[in-house]
Amino acid sequence: MILTLEIIIWIIFVFTLFIMGSYLILAYLSYKALRVYFTKNSFSDFNTILNSPLAPPLSVVSPAYNESKSIVDNVKTQLSLHYNDYEIILVNDGSTDDSLQKLITNFQLEKKDIKIPQHLPTKEVLGVYKSSNPAFKRLVVIDKVNGGKADALNVGINACTTDYVTCIDVDCVLEQDSLLKMVKPFLERTDKKRVIASGGVVRIANGCVIENGKLVKVEVPESFLPRVQVLEYIRAFLLGRMAWARLDGLLLISGAFGLFDKDIVIKCGGYTLKTVSEDMELVVRMRRYMHENKQPYVATYIPDPLCWTEVPDSYKILGSQRSRWSRGNVETLWIHRKIGFNPRYGRLGLLSYPYWFIFEFLAPIIESVGIIFTLILAYMNLINWNFFFLLLLFCYTFAILFSMIAIMAEEETFHEYKKMSDYFKLIYSVLLEPTFFHPFITFSAIRGYIGVMFGQKSWGKMTRKGFSNKKEDSTLAKKMADAKPKPV
């Protein structure tokens, strides 16, 4: 009995050391990648793209479901993006509110007899609307039968007329130069590698001042939960994704903001309806497709804060969101289990997938096993409490250190939180996060795994305050901040 416990405990111990080591390695790689990015772009004039006849046309696809309260402002924000040649394809996914009517009225839309190609199978399209006002000529609204976010995105991809497609959450606030920055990686390759996707950093808009759909002031949120998520997002996006992009092992481009090579997206079959984590699944499938077809490729990542989103500020909603993310994680790993530990897929199979499997999927399970063993050992009176607290401190101080590295990275790069009081608020969250937030996230992940075992498919309910601080309800599936930081 003791020997069995010991073996399990050793596994957990080694696992913990590995995960700590991997975080430090990722942080180091991110630091290097950020330096390269800043050096390279210190003299990039993105306005050159803005005025160039060589700039590729883009499509901005955003699905919307029951967004009536904010949809007009959101579309106006999209219409004001800085880019010369782009179309906005807004897919009304069978909203039951007056979203469509509001769009028709505000943008003088008229139903057109336009046939959308069926590159990707989707639910029925009920109508295509374009504006009679030249000021809104970029806007195309597609009304369709409700089919979920993935289905709506697929309709948008079918409808877009350009080679590159940006998929965004309709309620995200994009920086005005976000398209200019996102398209650059597609333009600057000089080797034979095809850029299949480019991901952007998503930052937290809670606490920020947003006027007319534009971010005018960045501040750390007042309430604890969003503030901890600020830390979490900085860690995940600035330290995690940046490193994975450098390793050419990026598995996830947030559904909130990503730019894709449409041709490859269509060849891969578009977004799948089989998982609640359709964004991660698509990236994995695109990469898998490129490997299987022996086409050199790269998936890139932009560290600039280009997209701002609202995150849950209650434990109930946060728990539901994280539970869904972990379900999506499991589903994606299962769908693409073939690539795991498979040398045929290079780094994807031997590095990214195993990392995701071991450190993202298994972590909550091992942590939970850990706590159960703690209880068992405590019951058996086998715990040396002095040493227990020493090791507790070991993990706690590491958590603090890693968060401080993330804050330092943010400070040295984008320095978004300029007020000293914001810095101290973040430090306060750094100190508290391991004690409250992390256990809760682990618990939510386990709930997600249990959900997978019982075949749970729903997206749950979500209540959001909205940028105007007015309460509004909607279905999580179509509305929730889906930025998915996926802890490093």
Partner: protein
């Protein structure tokens, strides 16, 4: 994020076992190692905490100093830019030289003023532009730029090349030219843009010698400079259609398209059946524009 407290429990249990029940060689030292690691993590965190504060203070200090330098030298810059006679300019330059030396003490401060003068330079025209070029050349700004050009870091070197191009320093063309085919792609790109900036269409000579691909990004940047030149003086861009590098052929087609060189339509027709989809599409689009009546299908490409 880190496994955190829950994992810590597990690790703690492990340690208990190590300490109490197991005879692994390092078991007796683990407590010391853990204490050492805790101290290391704690001190590192404190150092980072303080480093952020120091960084903020230094940034503030730097910004204040930069503002002070800008406001101190702004009068001289404006004076030089809007000097109406040679004598007036010489007088301003006489005061500017010691003043610039006095206020600019570091290369980062120098870079701030380089950017300041360049920004103003790009917003002006005619004599004012020339005056600012002289101010740049005759003060320590040129010294800093030349020092940057000799710097080992490619990005510092590239920033110097950009500054020289933006200030129209034709005297430095030979120094810039040697980087046009440099192995560092970013340095190479900056030098190529600078050459087109300084030499106009003649600056495109490097295209014939280039061995690597010309990225779309670089094509956008070069075209951005070419668009400001007199279209009537544009050379025959078909000279690069026979280049071995497909991206250079592509750029040539795009230039022929943009500059509406209808006399090259026969040469473009050879690309209509090219195996390279990009070349094919670009040639078709160009032909549709420069040779009205030609029907080769549709494509989305350069918009002349």
């Amino acid at each position: 994020m880190i496994l955190g407290i829950l994992a810590a429990n597990s690790v703690a249990n492990t340690a208990v076992n190590i300490a109490n029940a197991v005879n692994y060689p390092f078991a007796h030292n683990i407590e010391t190692i853990v204490v050492f690691m805790i101290l290391l993590f704690t001190y590192s965190s404190i150092i980072l905490f303080l480093a952020v504060i120091i960084l903020r203070l230094r940034k503030n200090q730097f910004e204040k100093r930069a503002e002070f330098i800008k406001s101190s030298l702004n009068g001289l810059i404006m004076g030089a830019a809007f000097a109406s006679t040679e004598d007036e300019l010489n007088e301003v330059l006489l005061q500017a030289k010691p003043a610039f030396n006095k206020y600019i003490r570091t290369s980062s401060q120098g870079q701030i003023m380089i950017n300041e003068v360049i920004n103003m330079h790009s917003n002006l025209a005619g004599q004012s532009k020339n005056n600012l070029s002289r101010l740049f050349a005759e003060t320590c700004l040129m010294t800093y730029t030349m020092r940057n050009l000799g710097n080992e870091n490619w990005h510092v070197k590239a920033s110097a090349i950009r500054a020289l191009a933006q200030i129209n320093s034709e005297a430095h063309i030979p120094k810039i030219e040697k980087y046009a085919l440099h192995h560092n792609i970013y340095l190479q790109q900056e030098a190529q843009i600078a050459l087109v900036n300084l030499r106009g269409y003649d600056g495109l000579d490097f295209l014939g010698k280039l061995k690597n691909a010309l990225s779309d990004w670089q094509q956008i940047n070069i075209l951005d400079v070419l668009r400001k030149l007199d279209k009537d003086k544009a050379p025959d861009f078909s000279q690069w259609l026979s280049n071995k590098e497909d991206t250079i052929k592509l750029f040539s087609i795009r230039l022929i398209h943009y500059f509406q060189q209808g006399y090259n339509s026969d040469k473009l027709e050879e690309f209509v059946h090219s195996e390279n989809k990009l070349l094919r599409n670009e040639a078709i689009a160009a032909l549709q524009k420069i040779k009205p009546g030609s029907h080769f299908g549709s494509s989305n490409t350069v918009k002349a």
